[in-house]
Symmetry: D2
Subunit: 362 residues, 4 copies
Amino acid sequence: MSFNTFGHMFRVTTFGESHGPAIGCVVDGCPPRLALTAEDIQRDLDRRRPGQSRFTTQRQEPDQVRIISGVMASEDAGVQVTTGTPITLLIENTDQRSKDYSDIKDKFRPGHADFTYEAKYGLRDYRGGGRSSARETASRVAAGAVARKVLAGVTVRGALVQMGPHKIDRDSWDWSEVDHNPFFCPDRAKVAFYADYLDGIRKAGSSIGAVIEIVAEGVPAGLGAPIYGKLDSDLAAALMSINAVKGVEIGAGFGAAELSGEDNADEIRMSNHGPVFQSNHAGGILGGISTGQAVVARFAVKPTSSILTSRRTIDRHGAETEILTKGRHDPCVGIRAVPVGEAMVACVLADHLLRHRGQVGG
Amino acid sequence: MSFNTFGHMFRVTTFGESHGPAIGCVVDGCPPRLALTAEDIQRDLDRRRPGQSRFTTQRQEPDQVRIISGVMASEDAGVQVTTGTPITLLIENTDQRSKDYSDIKDKFRPGHADFTYEAKYGLRDYRGGGRSSARETASRVAAGAVARKVLAGVTVRGALVQMGPHKIDRDSWDWSEVDHNPFFCPDRAKVAFYADYLDGIRKAGSSIGAVIEIVAEGVPAGLGAPIYGKLDSDLAAALMSINAVKGVEIGAGFGAAELSGEDNADEIRMSNHGPVFQSNHAGGILGGISTGQAVVARFAVKPTSSILTSRRTIDRHGAETEILTKGRHDPCVGIRAVPVGEAMVACVLADHLLRHRGQVGG
Amino acid sequence: MSFNTFGHMFRVTTFGESHGPAIGCVVDGCPPRLALTAEDIQRDLDRRRPGQSRFTTQRQEPDQVRIISGVMASEDAGVQVTTGTPITLLIENTDQRSKDYSDIKDKFRPGHADFTYEAKYGLRDYRGGGRSSARETASRVAAGAVARKVLAGVTVRGALVQMGPHKIDRDSWDWSEVDHNPFFCPDRAKVAFYADYLDGIRKAGSSIGAVIEIVAEGVPAGLGAPIYGKLDSDLAAALMSINAVKGVEIGAGFGAAELSGEDNADEIRMSNHGPVFQSNHAGGILGGISTGQAVVARFAVKPTSSILTSRRTIDRHGAETEILTKGRHDPCVGIRAVPVGEAMVACVLADHLLRHRGQVGG
Amino acid sequence: MSFNTFGHMFRVTTFGESHGPAIGCVVDGCPPRLALTAEDIQRDLDRRRPGQSRFTTQRQEPDQVRIISGVMASEDAGVQVTTGTPITLLIENTDQRSKDYSDIKDKFRPGHADFTYEAKYGLRDYRGGGRSSARETASRVAAGAVARKVLAGVTVRGALVQMGPHKIDRDSWDWSEVDHNPFFCPDRAKVAFYADYLDGIRKAGSSIGAVIEIVAEGVPAGLGAPIYGKLDSDLAAALMSINAVKGVEIGAGFGAAELSGEDNADEIRMSNHGPVFQSNHAGGILGGISTGQAVVARFAVKPTSSILTSRRTIDRHGAETEILTKGRHDPCVGIRAVPVGEAMVACVLADHLLRHRGQVGG
């Protein structure tokens, strides 16, 4: 991963600021002759779109995607397909009304990237967070929709598994529930609780963190490239690059620190369909290479930094001051990170699928 | 990070198997005219070397490093310095006696990369784990010693902060203690406890996981490159690439999921020496860019997979069988991960220092 | 250079097909706080634009560029400046009327990329050449205009030095002449001759090749990175990547094969302003690193493949057939390659300037 | 290509200086299960080795290669095979006697990289040219031998086609002749002439340039990646990166500038074995992608810069002086560039074979 591009064979470059004319991405290296329409991409974008419940920011953006390049109608296939050349996806910013930024233009909002962008570049685009806005993640979701086309036979799904200190009950996990509540929560019994809990936080002008889990099923054994192209290493980079993420773990994750060698070992038995692991503490990855089990990754999202409580800070001239961020924000920005996490995992897997095929064939 | 190379401007390629003639690395992109001797590198290697206490594997390797290229005696400087060309470091394998591998040659050891290497490549180097051996991390430590030369004014230190479920007392943190016990433990009061605890595990032929923390002080504000070259993203990739690591977190990490926005915000005040953050939940990184505070990263290491208890597995022909790994192994492989973690953080910071200077100057 | 991206620190990704909605590029890694407006870019684009004389294709495209991201109005600077984030430049295709492609849809035009795209991808975008259209070079010119901003103090200029077998007279070289004739010819006396010559070729429905020379003055000594990041190596890749280019040379180039060591050696004398080379057979590059002299590169452009004379070929079903390309085309596509060559050289130099500053500082 | 590494999937990193303990390379990304022994590599190295005739430098180096990593004896295959992990090749420098360098230590030899290394790095390894020594090309040849293993069915051969102004007669081209004369000359009738010509130059203490041609047969159609990963673009970079190369051309090359569109078009007919091109002005590449014809590249090598005639120069303190290079040198360094050029072409083709398989499969 380098600057605004990630991936080696399946390469994604994203661009754009929150309040410029548009954001988007270029997906390079995609195999040719895959069916791909704007609708395929729009479906995923709509899952990330804000303003769909009272628990996400009320910014109204249709997030309508246009395919600018890299596809054509195929007479042979009867549908629109990828051509093997760069696929450019453009999403116009429609909610970029000229707001009054005098409040935050010169002040560094704690928890945001204001101070660091200024420290690095000597200036920053204060309009809506500029490049560091969560809006950038729409480009990732769009790219992820293309990656899913590459990953025929692989299912990449995500869910919120913890909000504040409150974890879901893993025994109640139901994937079909995830898209039927505003939290991407797989535990139906927890939905009402989360609604009440988050309403309280929202009304207090506060915010809270969350943990998201992404599961990829159908990943063939053998993806990943030792030593510095390990599948888990690339997943860690990809998920940690999402705004507000502070931790990433694979399989047993930090819990593995407390396990004994006997408990941690995923024993193997043989079935008619090949090897069967008896557990999955490894999260589907051993030595940086996929085992054929489900790839399981989790990431922690910090609480939204924009809150209604005043915080002490300084301005760009070094004067001490205070700031509170007006307007409505996601009280738990982790919620909308679910489709973003799925997209990043899909992109990493697609990249490794092509890399593996390149080196080893098959 | 790609295959066996990582970094963009400060680029490290490692090579070698556990039981081949040698392992080593090529460090490319290092600035010229930095004083560098084999002794500088040996010092760090000696901290990682096995066989220094009863708590690490008894494999006896001097891990003697030779500088093959990239340095010359400078008459101007009066010392040996880097030339700006690739620095190659070679460590010969001296303990590669022809052991009897018939036990593990065909069996997949659970928790090890045996199954996945075979799945990927259609064969694997079963001698001592081949490329997936922890021995490869010596190359990282050697490269890290070069990175430290680039990082004048920056201190990168690590410590073990948890063994099994037992965490250190952070109020007792004493950096000067770390190099005076076999656990890299910064809490003097915990050393005897860890010794007893690990002796029990060792004698039972079992193993246990650990958590390591790396702290980099003196990192200037402004290092890191949005969006896919974020400093924390590159740290996550680098630390997750270390053998047996299953989780990485920055600053408050997974704990951030439980924080409110008010508590998580690191407020800023002004001092005579510039901005002063009142806390460091961010772990020294906001928006992927360093704040000038200490950069704080933690990673979880799973228990050693080689244990004396028999585990069920299959062999490469698909037959069900059992395996136990004879010989003495690190009962807590996390211990020796401390200098490795330091090295990876140093390499990432050196890379970002050069990348920042390239784009922005100064 | 990889797929649709080139450069390491100053990275350019281009996208788009001839007859899609738009083409464009993303310039990543550009230093912040450089003044940049759409007009700066438009100026260079206008030099490449077709339809400006009877000697270039009559396709009418305004090639109007929009900056989609990466700039903001700076109150400090009083002008629009780069922010350090990706600069996206978009050029809409306005001349994409639905032509009748039935003639070429299934036939492989000799000299074009029709056969090879089909061989590689199993399909091709036959509309106007798709991705292999010379129209893609507009994106390069746009990126090059940004690179020029990075290269303060460096002048990158190009000229046509040969059309068919007819070379200019180097003793008559006058840079001020280049922008005052339709051939970018620096030899005023040759202009009328070239006009007659090319009229003859154009009227015959034929085409002819050309040689272009690019000269960069003010390049500081020290740019370039041995061994596989040599400045001349990167220039060769960049210029050879331009459509229809079949050869690249630096300084004395192929002529160096005929020189003796004595004649080829550029002797050095000292002046008040530093070292002065007595000749420049090296073309400003020794050992892959700039000498401080003018960097001189030349490239050969083959004749336009679209001609009015029928050529034998096959169609995608393997049937033998013939084809001639109707419509008006550039009789000498090399002419418009001049601003493209300048842009590529500027991008490579900008990249090496940042890379050098990263590794060595200053 | 970046710094000391080139290639994307088949990646080569070289290291080492002329007078350090060793030179070598790391080949990363090589497919597993390819038979590979040191002898396979030695065969190619021996073709490049100096001291084999009076027409090359008399430096005596056995250039004995050792495989340090990346291979193992395969019981399944009964031979030593690649494992898919990095292949490290080491060649010790045995002729590094402590010569007296006082003559050249402070003086910049015209035509060499002395001045530019000093300008870039602030110091240089004056012993035998350090990193810029032609000795580095042995590492390329070693890597190329591995690449040939990847390229089953592809033949990569080279020949000297011009020495000074004297070109071979292409009608007399006989590949079987190439390895039977000291010039890699495919025109038997020219050998005696070249011997006399070069003896004259050698005895005069002078040197002369040359042109080398590399031909790869059996390359499947479809290799190459538009727009900045074009096969010809990567070949240009690879060949231009060889010491002393000043020009590269593909197919008709600079001659294409003088061709008409009719003459340049390679017409296509159909045969029982697929498409047959009627000529190969394209040099086997159209739009950056291989056509299935022979890939033909040529490069110009400047005369050896080390000559016995005194040349004017300056020293590192800025004082004007003169220098002549004693000792025996290659009077035509282009000769030994033949196996180097073959190796570079083989590496580029291997890389593109894996990249193509990654993106498109098959």
